[in-house]
Subunit: 413 residues, 2 copies
Amino acid sequence: MISLLDLLRRIDAGELSPQDAIRASHEAIGRIDDEIRAFVHVDVTARAAPEGPLRGVAVGVKDIIDTADMPTEMGSEIYAGWRPKADAPVVTALKRAGATPIGKTATTAFAHLDPTPTRNPRNTGHTPGGSSSGSAAAVAAGMVPLALGTQTGGSIIRPASFCGTAAIKPSYRLLPSVGVKCFSWALDTVGLFAATVPDLAFGLAAIAGRPELKLDDETDAPRIGLVTQDFAGEPEPDSAAALGHTVREAERAGAKVQSMGLPAVVAEAWRVHPTLQDFEAKQALAWEYAAHREQIPLKLRQHLDEAQPIDAAAYDAARSTAHRARGALDEVFADLDVLLTFSAPGPAPETLAATGNARFNRLWTLLGVPCVNVPGYIGATGLPVGVQIVAPFGRDREALAAARFVELALGAG
Amino acid sequence: MISLLDLLRRIDAGELSPQDAIRASHEAIGRIDDEIRAFVHVDVTARAAPEGPLRGVAVGVKDIIDTADMPTEMGSEIYAGWRPKADAPVVTALKRAGATPIGKTATTAFAHLDPTPTRNPRNTGHTPGGSSSGSAAAVAAGMVPLALGTQTGGSIIRPASFCGTAAIKPSYRLLPSVGVKCFSWALDTVGLFAATVPDLAFGLAAIAGRPELKLDDETDAPRIGLVTQDFAGEPEPDSAAALGHTVREAERAGAKVQSMGLPAVVAEAWRVHPTLQDFEAKQALAWEYAAHREQIPLKLRQHLDEAQPIDAAAYDAARSTAHRARGALDEVFADLDVLLTFSAPGPAPETLAATGNARFNRLWTLLGVPCVNVPGYIGATGLPVGVQIVAPFGRDREALAAARFVELALGAG
């Protein structure tokens, strides 16, 4: 992988020009992407910006995010060749920070579950996860140092875990989701993939205009609550082993880890996530469903068929549950800095026909809290298995700092 | 004005075909709109739908709301001729309910303050208000029975007051704002204009799929809290008189009205609305500002210039204030059904160079609570002056029911 901070250090030291850095990404894409298929469009004219904290940083942009100078096809033939009028604000923010959007990355159709042709760079017979399939794979394969993804259930943290990259789903709306194809407006969250946690932190700070998110070299040992989300079912052995290993290494490095349950209303929030999501999704995709139902791929079409009967009363109740769960989670954090939990049920499944399951992610998306995937553990089959750090709403810096602590404890990054 | 419920009663009685109803709107637009300039595009091919609760109802759609089969120009030359790919979900919902989007209504550029050429149908030398200028004027002039608008500060309630129509800004995200050009994602709210409060209620119920919003013939006398929003400055004499008259008539009809102040944190929320709004606006319009700054009209351009220095810390503090104010407002409603306050500082100003002031509206937009403009009072200059009913979040039915009570007490509707 290309470390963003390493790259910027080399640029600062004069060892590499920003334009050479962009050229290296173009070359890597040319060399690798016929096999990985992370990109659906590459801007061969893309050049480095002359200045900005991210000058020389090539970025893969998930193809549900509007770009004025590249197509935006939503992973769907309905939008074949579609060219939005404007860049999404997060793309303008990237450019303002000096980064270079180098191409659009493969997304499942409308960021749901029908897979893309993208392969997992760690083992090309396995899914990279989804829905941000191309963004995770592009960073994991060393084609770009940074990529934009989005998460409504587990579409950032899960593919990061499967592909062995760092990734953050920030607090809800820390990055604007304007100009991003909507699936569920209460859930959709824009986030980042990078090689390491400090790379993420630097990128997020620059894009969001929040310099305090950058990490210092030293991070304090965090107080960690270990949660297994029993309501979400059992993990596979590799994910259980990844969590156990992480606890031991974090404790050895000085962290305090305590196992804990979660309040009943939080478990209830996990259960109602689909109600809230799907009542919004049937509205968000109402035009596509009304005008182009037959062109919607199978999993999403069936999902929308099943969503049609969800009524406003069920939605209002789900929203109320989520509201109470956010309050209850605040109390869980009273004596803790972060929570530690699974990033995914197990390593990337050996298939290109499915993208895995978001059951260990969707709660945190619903609660709007920042989540970081920490790579570093390798499971029994040789594939990476991440762990997930969760912090209170608005405490993205704490999430990143604790994730960095864990990353170092795992000997990664 | 065309009452939506009257129109549907005539259709149900066989006195009017749905297609004749649409034709009548086409004819009214042809007859009136050269002078009023409410529409920026009329779909001359628009036809009635064969079924649905709103069949035969012609709807004006504010031109920041995406339509796949009509241009969507955002009130800006930057978007001249722009044709979105998809209908916004609220437009699909209109069509699904049987309504006929008949044209796009004039909006100030990006729904800010630079005026449109639209004239107030009550007196064409006066502004109709904004930013939903064309939607308010189209309903007030009797061209259509229903129109869609949006509000970020006071862009629905103010023009409704100036033009003498009923209007609702529903609870935040009761109607989806997906596919609506964003100014501030935490504030932008889609709402409706119609001739009377029951017309609004019927339309909103049909579009939102919430049949419980329809009003019965009888409405109970509400418990009303009278708030003057002193933090927002003094009203003009006509608005003060409208409120006083409404209190007397509502009490005479059996309502209990008590004057009250608002908690300090609510006043503080009023003060921080611009910080929250403008930090989001500079991001939401970042592409336009970066790529087309010179084409942004003067008021908005200066506004965005001034917004650039607002930092994330100020935004986070504003958001936290708004969160606490929402909690404090819940307590205000403990023994009340609704609040009653000014809809606008006074009647429509005698100018086409400005659209008026949102100072009595912006608090309620920030708090996400439903607001209804009740027409019926006519001020000293012969222009309408509305009053505003505000209910707790999610209590849109209570807002409409109390507004209907007041409308009848005023001898209107």
